[in-house]
């Protein structure tokens, strides 16, 4: 767990663009970023190579498959829109995991937090009529975010007060959220228009829809802003200092006068808020409603994204884009080269496997370990 936290810390500190940064420090920054990104990039490359082998073994052309994948994800405005829409909840889900991880908490509850966010945002979206957009849309987003925050906070408060492990609690809460939102969509909030028997809400009012500007969905802009905000809070505020302290050394945080319980509870609430916001944007910006079963699994992909980004909030953006592109392009790949879209899941799983086992990647690619880490290791003996 401690592996992802190590090398990126200096990168984040440097990325602040300290006053009077010279060419020299910029070069160091580039080096630090490259070094931190080496394993994720290598993992992606290895995943794609193994994916290519699998495609070739099935008798398909690797080149046409991968070029269709890229064109399907970024070939034109429609493709780009699809990719950005796919990437939005991934970024939010990744942030929900990464932010909690900074406090040393493993948030497996992104799925449940996303679902309640999606359902409650849709509830506000179709439930209120005749409200202007400037009120309706922010309100719907806010309610979705708040629902997610409450869902996350439950796990945080239980952890802080009774020591209940957040992994267990968030997994359980995923089931609760799944069934609760299914029930909402099938009963009180179900769309009764026409002969609809699907467990889904009515379409949200136009005043609650998130706009799309050409190929750029406004939701993705929010995702990028959220990532930057997370970075800023973690690195620049006293609250972020407290969060990171609790994650890095709970005992020292206690010694430093930080309320560990409050940080755990509030961090989980923030994590839930992020996931909930992701869900709300799904309902208000992509699906136009909440439908039972549509968002299943989306929250779990946040774990993949966070690991790929090594829990760095800024790196969550490219990680989300990469996975979003693969998912957006999978249909075109199948259509043009006949490769089953499931191969994308296989490649994703392989990438995750390599990220999670960085030693294998370093060994395979003969990557040098970071110098400072080695120094630290050496200093542990006899110093």
């Amino acid at each position: 767990m401690s592996v992802p936290a190590g090398p990126q810390a200096p990168a984040e500190t440097d990325a602040a663009g300290r006053a009077g940064s010279t060419d020299d420090s910029r070069r160091t920054l580039t080096r630090t970023v490259l070094r931190a990104a080496a394993v994720p990039l290598a993992s992606v490359a290895l995943g794609l190579v193994l994916g290519a082998v699998l495609i070739a073994v099935q008798g398909h052309s690797v080149l046409s498959a991968y070029s269709a994948l890229v064109l399907g994800g970024a070939g034109d405005a429609d493709a780009l829109l699809r990719t950005l829409q796919k990437a939005t909840p991934l970024v939010f889900g990744g942030l929900a995991v990464a932010f909690a991880f900074k406090a040393g908490l493993f948030n497996i509850g992104g799925q449940g937090q996303l679902l309640v966010g999606a359902a409650f945002a849709a509830g506000v979206g179709f439930g209120l009529e005749g409200v202007p957009l400037v009120v309706h849309l922010p309100l719907a987003l806010l309610v979705g975010a708040a629902a997610g925050a409450v869902w996350g906070a439950i796990a945080g408060v239980l952890k802080a007060t009774s020591g209940a492990h957040e992994v267990i609690v968030t997994i359980m809460l995923n089931f609760v959220a799944g069934n609760l939102t299914d029930w909402l969509a099938a009963n009180p909030w179900q769309d009764r228009s026409g002969s609809n028997i699907i467990a889904r809400t009515p379409l949200v009012e136009p005043s609650a829809e998130i706009p799309t500007w050409g190929w750029l969905p406004a939701g993705f802009v929010l995702a990028v802003l959220a990532a930057v905000a997370c970075w800023f809070v973690l690195e620049r505020t006293t609250y972020g200092f407290e969060v990171r302290s609790v994650g890095a050394n709970r005992h020292a945080a206690h010694y430093a006068g930080i309320s560990v319980g409050w940080i755990m509870a509030s961090t989980m609430a923030v994590a839930g808020l992020l996931a909930g916001l992701g869900g709300a944007i799904e309902s208000l910006g992509v699906d136009g409603r909440f439908e039972a079963g549509v968002n299943v699994g989306l929250g779990f992909e946040g774990i993949t994204i966070a690991l790929l980004a090594r829990t760095n909030p800024i790196a969550v953006i490219p990680a989300g884009l990469l996975v979003g592109l693969m998912e957006a392009g999978a249909a075109k790949m199948q259509f043009e080269s006949g490769v089953a879209p499931e191969i994308i899941d296989v490649i994703q799983a392989l990438i995750l496997l390599f990220v999670a086992a960085p030693l294998i990647v370093r060994w395979l690619l003969r990557l040098r370990d970071t110098d400072d880490r080695r120094l630290t290791l050496g200093a542990g003996w006899g110093r």
């Binding site: 200096p10 620049r236 006293t238 050394n249 020292a252 006068g257 630290t376 290791l377 006899g382």
Partner: protein, 544 residues
């Protein structure tokens, strides 16, 4: 193959039990050992002396197969060997007693000793045989310990005997002991030195790592002094003195003796310290005028297992005095410090600091009242290893001006503060952005001391302020604590090192089983008297 070689070597008494010839070991750019040669002969105690960072641990880790040397050779029982892991060393009769015991706390003594090399019968552990063999060994070497007790219930000294038995059970002819006396009382230390002496009588050779000069002079046959990875001296106790050894270790003359007797001549602050120093004799006259800063009355606190560890303890510390708490570790000192500083819940009693009620205060409130706290465990409480030196320099004050404003950290202020601390407290680090984990133990401690001293404080609570650090850093920290006292800060010093308590304190409070059993004057009390008090003797019996 290994076993065969070992048997042959064991039968024909080897000339050299363990040796390193020209050992060089680098960690990245750091040369931990530079062409180091040592030799251990049967029946002798070889003391490896050096400051932290001098390369002692690296050297024994090479000899024990934990590290591979970049150059040089290891010799075990007259044979050149290539060790690829500690298993190779153990198979050749080298045993190691680590500073941090490698024991399984809930398991019995016997099971701990045989763990990994259990005698078996029908695929099951032959407990009866294991117990018999352990008892035989204990008798033979005079290492008495209850074979059926759970290790976690044993005192530290007994746990150490279990570690030694573990090595002997594996037929160790060489015992490497890494700072074995760091956790022991004076009496336990004496006992350990006797045990080691007994082992050498039976032909075992011992490598003894320490930085305590008194023990080296008392126990060693041969002394090798390391500094900055090189051997700077090879001698014997008969040919040297403590002062000469200290100079070799540090590379310059050091003064470890208190300023207590010279302080009269040092100016303004000395009036305060002198008054405080004599507070026991003339409490009403001079010391009475200095206010009580820390006043503890009837304090009770439980340890982690819920047992009462601090038992209706009362103690007062005045401005400008150092009160040292002496005691064997585990007599409630940790809980006492934690209860005062808000890290632990006090179950009864009151604490007042600078006339403000601090009973049940949280750590943040205690800091804000004006208390500096050098915590006992610097890795656990004192520092965040992955944080930079700069962040650690404000670890418990990051929220205060000028380090923060409006909830935002002010990096420039934090960095310049850190540079001040680094410069003033001689913290050796390439820059303030380096992670604290990259510093040596002494420099970590100086960073903590610097942090705690850089704020306005009325009370300093220093728990084991120099544990495991080198003489140069000890001298530095002691001087800083004395300066602070002379400026009028009240200091509560808790240390398992009796020498430290004696060197620094104006009054010594001896703690036993959660209570202060006696308060003595360090200028008149002897080590033996205090040692007996620490071991639980009633004050009346001592010194009579």
């Amino acid at each position: 193959m290994v076993a065969a070689a070992e048997t042959v070597a064991a039968q024909a008494e080897p000339e050299v039990l363990l040796a390193g010839h020209g050992i060089t070991k680098r960690f990245g750019p750091v040369v931990a050992n530079d062409d180091v040669s040592v030799e251990l002969r049967p029946g002798r105690i070889l003391a490896l002396l050096g400051e932290n960072g001098a390369g002692k641990s690296t050297l024994v880790n090479v000899l024990f197969g934990l590290h591979r040397p970049d150059a040089g050779q290891v010799v075990i029982a007259d044979e050149h060997v290539e060790l690829s892991s500690p298993h190779d060393a153990i198979a050749r009769g080298v045993g190691m007693v680590h500073q941090h015991f490698q024991l399984v706390p809930p398991m019995s003594v016997v099971r701990n000793i045989v763990l990994g090399a259990e005698p078996r019968k029908l695929g099951m552990i032959d407990v009866a045989q294991a117990r018999r063999r352990v008892m035989d060994l204990a008798d033979r070497f005079g290492l008495h310990v209850d074979p059926d007790a759970a290790v976690e219930d044993l005192p530290v000294g007994a746990q150490q005997r279990v570690e030694i038995l573990k090595a002997l059970y594996r037929d160790a002819r060489v015992l490497i002991a890494d700072e074995p006396t760091a956790v022991l009382t004076p009496q336990e230390t004496d006992h350990l030195l006797d045990v080691l002496r007994g082992l050498t009588d039976q032909g075992v050779g011992i490598v003894f790592i320490t930085h305590k000069l008194r023990e080296v002079m008392a126990a060693a046959d041969d002394i090798v002094v390391l500094r900055e990875g090189r051997v700077v001296g090879t001698t014997t106790p008969a040919q040297t003195s403590e002062a000469a050894l200290a100079e070799l270790m540090v590379g310059r003359a050091v003064d470890l003796h208190g300023d207590r007797f010279e302080s009269g001549a040092t100016g303004v602050g000395s009036a305060v310290s002198t008054a405080a120093a004599y507070s026991d004799e003339k409490p009403a006259a001079e010391a009475g005028e200095l206010p009580v800063v820390l006043d503890i009355a009837g304090l009770c606190a439980d340890d982690d297992r819920g047992q009462r560890a601090v038992d209706e303890l009362s103690l007062a510390v005045r401005a400008g005095e150092i009160v040292g708490v002496a005691g064997v570790e585990g007599n409630g000192q940790r809980e006492l410090v934690e209860a005062i500083t808000g890290l632990r819940h006090a179950t009864a009693g009151t604490v007042s600091i600078s006339d403000r009620d601090a009973s049940g205060a949280r750590p943040r409130q205690v800091t804000v009242i004006g208390v500096g706290h050098i915590p006992e465990d610097r890795a656990k409480h004192g520092l965040i290893g992955s944080y930079s030196v700069a962040d650690n320099s404000v670890l418990n004050r990051y929220f205060k001006r000028p380090f923060a404003a409006g909830g935002m950290l002010r990096r420039d202020r934090i960095d310049s503060h850190a540079r001040d601390v680094v410069a003033t407290f001689d913290v050796r680090t390439p820059d303030v952005e380096s992670p604290a984990d990259s510093l040596s133990g002494g420099n970590k401690q100086k960073l903590i001391v610097g942090r705690e001293f850089s704020d306005e404080i009325d009370l300093l609570i220093a728990a084991q302020p120099t544990r495991g650090i080198d003489i140069g850093a000890i001298e530095f920290i002691w001087r800083r604590i004395r300066e602070r006292r002379d400026e009028g800060t009240a200091v509560l010093l808790v240390s398992a090192e009796l020498d430290e308590v004696l060197a620094l304190s104006d009054r010594v409070a001896v703690m036993y089983e959660g209570r202060i059993v006696a308060t003595v004057d360090p200028r008149t009390a002897t080590r033996e008297e205090i040692g007996l008090l620490m071991a639980g003797a009633a004050p009346a019996e001592v010194g009579s």
